[in-house]
């Protein structure tokens, strides 16, 4: 059932990112709202994990806690053996809107992070690095353009280049392609996969798109609906890499997995308790094993 080739090589750390009993509670005068509760997840080094769930269930909340932009109300987060405390450039973040600084060119936007992380490198080396990533994402000719002169898709390419150029321990992507039309989305998924293949950066990505999740990830984490959202099901994706979109879609497993995900979203996400599937109960421990 689980394709060995899809799993990360054995020497890598299995618990590269550990999320233990994460809880996020917002307090307001009207009372407190528990958004995420008892959220547990392990991600292996070099693994690509996507997080799906209904709108408003708390996917962004989880991601932003890992990014350090939101503090967790309870629970522990450990990345590469270190407790996560606050944001830092060891986690490259790609936001839903590209969030480029509009007064800087594409190159300067990437350079901002590069200079911050590789401050010991020479200016020429840093520039080379920034330009390398911009070239890889296909912006060799647009490095001097400001965000206003770039299309939405090109801006998100810059966002991806900016995140990868930090050589982070981990990539965090919050619906990075959500605002793009489907053709551009396909292009950028390929760009992302290509970069990821080269560097094997551990990635956690939030998406609404089941097909995108199946094409990109090693495992798909389904979240139950909030409040008190948690991990509902974890679906391993067995397709061998490098992946080809057509081959993936023609794979005999593709529709089974797709149905399983959609069934989860339509039926089981609403249930409070964790659900088990006839196809084999997938839990954190099993998937990471």
């Amino acid at each position: 059932m689980i394709d060995i080739k899809a799993m990360p090589p054995p020497r890598v750390r299995r618990n590269y990112l550990e999320l233990r009993q994460l809880n996020k509670t917002y307090h307001s005068p009207k009372g407190s709202a528990v958004i995420v509760n008892d959220f547990n997840l392990d991600i292996a080094e070099g693994e690509f994990v996507t997080l799906i769930g209904h709108s408003g269930c708390g996917k962004s909340t989880v991601l932003s806690m890992v990014a350090g932009l939101t503090s967790a109300s309870a629970g522990g987060m450990v990345l590469a053996g270190r407790e996560i405390a606050g944001p830092g450039p060891d986690r490259g973040v790609v936001f839903q809107s590209p969030s480029l600084l509009p007064w800087m060119t594409a190159r300067e936007n990437v350079m901002l992070g590069v200079s911050q992380v590789f401050y010991t490198a020479s200016a020429a080396e840093r520039l080379q690095l920034a330009e390398y990533y911009l070239t890889v994402v296909g912006l060799a000719d647009s490095m001097n353009k400001r965000p206003a002169e770039l299309s939405q898709g090109m801006r998100q390419r810059v966002g991806i280049a900016r995140a990868f150029a930090l050589s982070p321990k981990m990539l965090l992507l919050d619906e990075p392609f959500g605002m793009l039309d489907s053709l551009t989305r396909f292009e950028l998924q390929a760009v992302l996969l290509e970069l990821w293949k080269r560097q094997r950066i551990t990635a956690l990505m939030v998406t609404h798109d089941v097909d995108e999740a199946l094409y990109l990830s090693d495992r798909i984490v389904c979240m139950t609906d909030g409040p008190e959202a948690e991990v509902g099901d974890i679906v391993p994706v067995p397709f061998e890499r490098p992946r080809d979109r057509v081959a993936v879609m023609e794979h005999p497993e593709y529709y089974k997995l797709r149905e399983r995900l959609i069934e989860f979203l339509e039926v089981h996400a609403h249930k409070k308790r964790r659900v088990s599937f006839p196809a084999g109960k997938a839990t954190n421990t099993e998937a990471a094993a």
Binding site: A67, G68, L69, G86, P87, G88, P89, R91, G92, V93, F95, S97, S99, L101, P102, W103, L112, G113, Q116, V117, R146, A148, L166
Partner: protein, 294 residues
């Protein structure tokens, strides 16, 4: 073709109609000089000139033009402290305004930044600002005199170069014109998108870098709107300040001519003030739009 006609109509003809109507109205209410031949109480014929009209003392456009001509023909002439060409006066006024305005920006911009960054600071300062903001320059000036009563810089010849009234003048301009810069900067800082701040946080930019690479550029468009409005107010205040100090300048000249009964030149001063204000505003708009690209 059609566009050209329309353009001409909108940008040339209509303003001309407006100006024409204004001149007619002015002419209608201005005083007219009439010479009347009457007999005095002894029965002798005398000629008397009387002013009639809705506002008998208001000079007509033609009289205004005639009285203003020497000041316009030699705009930089200096016949005396309070008898100079209109541009010479304008330059004197502008230089005072600029000094006060720069002080206003130097204090107002950082103040706006702090207000935008800190809710606590805003809460502490808000009542003071709200109370001070609407105070008229006429009220500030005497306080300035009191505050800076000991200021006195004397040159070699024993002449005061910069005294209490100069300090009070700058103080009044600065304190009156500061507020738009303060408020707009604060609003701009508060309006910096969270996304940009998150970028700064994720990259762990230092405080200085966050300020100069993210906050400041993101706030610039708002700041310049504030700067433009502040300049407008600074220019508005100048007349009051010059009237109170008797300094040479457009406002000082206006007040002097009023006291001397030369009403035509008051109108010259008013028009000059208006035109200079307009030019300043336009110049600032150009600067402002340079930063609007963000």
């Amino acid at each position: 073709m059609n566009f050209f006609k329309r353009y001409k109509l909108d940008s040339v003809l209509l303003p001309l109609i407006g100006v024409g109507a204004f001149l007619i109205l002015w002419l209608a209410i201005a005083g007219r000089v009439e010479t009347r031949k009457t007999l005095d109480e002894f029965g002798d014929p005398v000629t008397k000139t009387v002013k009639t009209g809705l506002s008998p003392d208001l000079p007509s456009p033609a009289e205004t033009w005639k009285a203003s001509k020497p000041y316009l023909a030699e705009p930089f002439a200096k016949r005396g402290e309070l008898d100079q060409g209109i541009l010479a006066f304008t330059i004197l006024s502008l230089s005072l305004v600029m000094q006060g305005y720069l002080i206003a920006l130097a204090i107002g911009t950082p103040l706006g930044f702090f207000l935008g960054l800190s809710k606590t600071f805003t809460k502490a300062m808000d009542p003071i600002i709200q109370v001070l903001r609407p105070v008229s320059p006429l009220a500030w000036f005497p306080l300035g005199l009191v505050l800076f009563s000991s200021v006195k810089f004397i040159d070699g010849g024993g002449k005061t170069v910069f005294g209490a009234s100069d300090a009070a003048a700058l103080f009044t301009i600065a304190v009156c014109s500061m507020w738009p810069a303060v408020m707009n900067t604060a609003v701009g800082v508060r309006a910096v998108p969270t996304d940009y701040l998150n970028v700064a946080k994720v990259l762990k930019l230092s405080r200085g870098k966050t300020l100069f690479k993210v906050l400041l550029p993101a706030t610039l468009p708002y700041m310049f709107t504030g700067f433009r409005l502040s300049l407008g107010i600074a220019w508005l205040v100048i007349v009051a300040v010059e009237m109170l100090t008797g300094r040479p300048g457009v406002g000082g000249f206006l007040w002097q001519e009023y006291n001397a009964g030369s009403y035509s030149r008051i109108i010259l001063c008013i028009l000059t003030i208006g035109i200079v204000g307009l030019v300043l505003d336009r110049l600032m708009s150009v600067v402002e739009s340079r930063f609007k690209t963000a």
